[in-house]
Amino acid sequence: MRRMNRRTRVLMLTLVMALLLAAVYLAGLLVPEEAVASHFMEARQAPSLTHLFGTDTLGRDLFWRTIKGLSVSLTVGIAASGISAVVAVLVGIAAAVGSKRVDGVINWVIDLVMGVPHTILVLLISFALGRGLTGLLVGIACTHWCSLARLIRGEVMQLRSQQYVAVSRRLGKSSGWILIHHLLPHLVPQFFVGLILLFPHAILHEASISFLGYGLPPEQPAIGIILAESMNYLSAGMWWPAVFPGLTLVAIVLLIDRLGDNLRKILDPYSAQE
């Protein structure tokens, strides 16, 4: 370890985190239905070696159910933050490059969306679209692009005032050429870091909306659903359906957050040279 410099260490750590996330995702996809089926003989068992997280009132193994739920969460996270980030880039560039009026309208919409609490907005959109996966996805994607769009708008405005962009224009390059060759490459780090930092938000919102009953349907193994079910039995002394899935959710969110932070360290020119 001594011989590695900080950059290599961060790189390794990031790789391990990414692998861990991929493993959780794949495990969730590959778990057979049998593993999460009901076994009424084994209902309400406390955590043990055979059932790491215990079982719920229907005798389903909570460990595998949690893994499956996390996999769903990750799917929602990837799709929603992906859409959000792309929307943010497009809107940000449009605001910075477009006329004053376009910029004004976009800023007004950003203020509007940011002004309403996310949870309420996601809830309304998800409900209006008939709940389920699509409702959640659209809801989260529609509400999370704002801050990144603002960041990108500022970045593009700053880049556009650079001398080399002015020179490029006098060398006969079109706005489109300048956008692709001069501006977009500068936005790549912002885009990826923004994307990954949106990820935990998306997952937490998915879980909270499902918990409130406006998101994924109850038969789907999702963290929000598991937590909502666990509330009914908490007063009866069944602590494990709430504690373990909740903790794994927090762990995954923290993991992704650290991943984004590390990625920023790697991509950001100020810390990339360390």
Binding site: Q163, V167, S168, R170, L171, H186
Partner: protein, 200 residues
């Protein structure tokens, strides 16, 4: 065939004072004009208006009797004082040069640009080396008027002489006009056929 400024006036905003007022200037093709003034007399502003980076508030800039073209490669090219700002820091220098067209081996050789530099990033070269790239880029665009805005102020005397030698010989070869903006009266007298003092 000339670059002409007719009654130019310029200010950066309505509530700011005039930087240029009613200034006229004429540069013939192949001429070498030295623009000379102390700080704050609008040398750089005039250079930017002449090369089309800024639109004059009043008056006009004419090239061969017509307004400067706003699209396509501009025949009037400006070289800035700070080369590190005029080059995209994320581009390798080969791409920087290719932005203005095909690489011209003769120009590269004349400026002492080594082939190995082409695959480096701007951060890895010194200011003087970068300035050679900026001048080479402008020359390779096939410009007919080259405006040099204090391009050698931050260079040591040897590099200054080297750059000016190439610029002057290229200007001679192509019958290109050079407008040298400078603080240095001796430099202006040495390289130019005519000097204009903006402070007068």
């Amino acid at each position: 065939m000339a670059l002409e400024a007719k009654n130019l006036s310029f200010r950066y905003a309505r509530n700011l004072p005039w930087v240029l007022e009613n200034r006229s200037l004429r540069v013939e093709e192949g001429e070498r004009l030295g623009l000379f003034a102390p700080s704050g007399y609008g040398k750089t502003t005039l250079a930017m208006v002449l090369s089309g980076y800024l639109q004059p508030t009043r008056g006009e800039v004419l090239l061969d009797g017509k307004p400067l073209p706003m699209t396509g490669v501009c025949p009037v090219q400006l070289i800035y004082q700070h080369p590190e700002k005029a080059i995209n820091p994320r581009w390798r220098l080969r791409k920087v040069l290719e932005e203005s067209g095909q690489l011209d081996e003769a120009v590269l050789g004349a400026f002492g640009i080594e082939p190995a530099w082409l695959d480096r990033f701007p951060r890895e070269l010194s200011g003087g080396e970068l300035q050679r790239f900026c001048v080479a880029r402008a020359l390779m665009s096939g410009c007919r008027y080259l405006i040099c805005d204090e391009i050698s102020t931050m260079l040591d005397v040897i590099t200054q002489a080297q750059i000016w030698n190439v610029v002057l010989s290229e200007a001679e070869k192509r019958n290109m006009a050079v407008i040298a903006v400078t603080h240095n009266r001796h430099l202006a007298q040495r390289i130019c056929t005519r000097t204009v003092d903006l402070s007068e």
